[in-house]
C-alpha cells in the first residue's frame, strides 16, 4: 500500500558506521531495550494477524478450499489481500491466468518496501536477503522500520522477530484453524459466514482509501464490477472493475481524504509513509532521536 510521497523516495545511502558483530549487538543494552519494544509491538500485530487469518480460513473453506490448499496459500503466497481476492476468483470460476495477473498487480506495492530496505540490508548475505523477502509484508515492514529507526541501524534478528513471530506463524496457524473450524460447521450461511468474504473485501478496500483518487478507483471499480457481472458474469466483472477502476482514479485530481492505511492482512492501522521515512532515515539517526513510534 503506497502513498504519493512514498513513490518519490530514492533509496537511502548505505548505513554508517558499520554495525557491531551479532554477539556485541545482541548483548548491548540499547538492542535489548529496542527488542523489548519490538516484542510488545509484535504481540499487538500477532493478535490482529491471527484474527484475520482465521477469517481467511473460514472464507477459503466457504470457497471449497481443502485445509492443505488454504495452508499452501498462506505459506507460499503469504499475501492477505491477494489471498482473499483469490478466494473470490476461485469461487467465481475465474481462470488461473487472470488470477495471477491480479495477484501480481495487487502485490506490486512490495517493490517499495523492498526498495526502502535494500540499502540498509546491502551488507547481508544474498541468501539471507532472499529469505527476508518472502516474509516482507506490510506488517513486517512497519515493524522492521520502527525497530531499525529506534536502534539507529539494522537488526536482522529483530526483522525475523517481527516477520516470523508477529506475522508468518500467527497467519498460518490461524488459517489452518479457520479452515478446520469452517469444516466443522454444517451450515455456515446460518451463521452469516457467507457474508465474511464480501464484508472483508469491502472493509479492506475502505482501509486503502486514503485520498480522492483511491475513493474514485474503489467506487468505479465497484460499479463496473456489478454492471459487468450482470452483463457477462462475475468472472469478467471483477477483472473489469479491478483493472479499469484505477484508470478512472488516475484522472481524478489528487487530494482529499488523508486517513491512516490498514495492512492487508490484519486491518491494523499502519502508517506506511512514516515507516518509509523511518527506514530511509535511520542510517542518519542521532543518539538523542526520539523513538519513531510507540506501537504499530
Amino acid at each position: 500500500m503506497t502513498h504519493e510521497p512514498a513513490v518519490t523516495h530514492e533509496p537511502a545511502p548505505p548505513m554508517e558506521p558499520d554495525p557491531p558483530s551479532p554477539d556485541q549487538a545482541a548483548s548491548s543494552p540499547d538492542v535489548q531495550a529496542a527488542r523489548r519494544q519490538l516484542a510488545l509491538d509484535t504481540v499487538g500485530i500477532a493478535v490482529s494477524v491471527a484474527g484475520f487469518g482465521l477469517v481467511f480460513g473460514l472464507a477459503a473453506r466457504g470457497a471449497g478450499y481443502s485445509p492443505l490448499e488454504a495452508s499452501a496459500m498462506s505459506v507460499f503466497a503469504f499475501a492477505g489481500a491477494a489471498q482473499f481476492a483469490a478466494v473470490g476468483y476461485v469461487a467465481a470460476g475465474l481462470p488461473w491466468i487472470p488470477i495471477l495477473v491480479l495477484t501480481f498487480v495487487l502485490n506490486a506495492r512490495h517493490l517499495l518496501y523492498s526498495a526502502s530496505l535494500a540499502p540498509a540490508l546491502r551488507g547481508q548475505r544474498r541468501t539471507t536477503r532472499a529469505a527476508m523477502a518472502h516474509v516482507l509484508t506490510d506488517e513486517a515492514f512497519a515493524l522492521a522500520a520502527a525497530h531499525f529507526h529506534r536502534l539507529g541501524r539494522v537488526d536482522v534478528t529483530g526483522y525475523w522477530i517481527g516477520a516470523i513471530l508477529g506475522v508468518f506463524i500467527p497467519w498460518n496457524v490461524a488459517t489452518l484453524a479457520g479452515v478446520l473450524l469452517g469444516g466443522a460447521i454444517p451450515d455456515p450461511t446460518a451463521f452469516g459466514l457467507d457474508v465474511v468474504f464480501p464484508a472483508a473485501m469491502a472493509g479492506l478496500a475502505a482501509g486503502l482509501v486514503t485520498g480522492r483518487r483511491e475513493l474514485a478507483a474503489a467506487g468505479s471499480g465497484a460499479a463496473l464490477g456489478v454492471l459487468t457481472s450482470l452483463a457477462v458474469g462475475p468472472s469478467v466483472g471483477v477483472i473489469a472493475g479491478g483493472l479499469i477502476g484505477p484508470l478512472i482514479g488516475m484522472v481524478v485530481p489528487a487530494g482529499g481524504l488523508r486517513l491512516p492505511e490498514e495492512s492487508d492482512t490484519t486491518a491494523h492501522e499502519i502508517d506506511i509513509d512514516r515507516a518509509m521515512a523511518d527506514v530511509l532515515s535511520f542510517g542518519h539517526a542521532r543518539d538523542d532521536d526520539p523513538p519513531s513510534r510507540d506501537s504499530p
Partner: protein, 110 residues
C-alpha cells in the same frame, strides 16, 4: 483432500516473490514510472471493491444468468463498511456485519 489449488498457491508465490525480492537482491532495478506506480497503488482498492460489490449485489439464477440482488447480505456488508470507516477497525465491522446477518436469518427475516 483436494490439492489442485496448491499449484495455484505456488504460482501466486512466483508472481509475488519478485516484487518482494528483486529490489533487495538487485538494488536499483525497481524504479518504475510514476504513472505506473500510481496505477499499481489504485489497483488494490479497485479490485477489492469490485469483488465486494459483485459478491454482494449480483446473484446467479437457476437458468445460469445473472441478476441484481439487494438482501440482508448487503446490509451486513454496509454495516461492516460503515464501522470500518468510522472506528478504523475491520475486525469489529466483520463481527457486526456477520452477526447482523446471522440474527436476521435466525429470526426468519432473511
Amino acid at each position: 483432500m483436494s490439492t489442485q489449488l496448491v499449484l495455484l498457491a505456488l504460482l501466486m508465490l512466483a508472481v509475488t516473490y519478485p516484487s518482494r525480492a528483486v529490489p533487495l537482491l538487485f538494488p536499483g532495478v525497481e524504479r518504475l514510472p510514476t504513472r505506473a506506480l500510481l496505477y499499481l497503488r489504485l489497483v488494490g482498492p479497485a479490485v477489492l471493491a469490485s469483488l465486494a460489490a459483485a459478491n454482494t449485489f449480483v446473484i446467479e439464477t437457476p437458468d445460469g444468468t445473472w441478476m441484481p440482488h439487494v438482501g440482508v447480505e448487503a446490509i451486513g456488508v454496509l454495516v461492516c463498511l460503515g464501522l470500518t470507516v468510522w472506528r478504523r477497525n475491520l475486525f469489529l465491522g466483520l463481527i457486526a456485519g456477520v452477526g447482523l446477518v446471522a440474527v436476521a436469518r435466525a429470526m426468519g427475516l432473511a
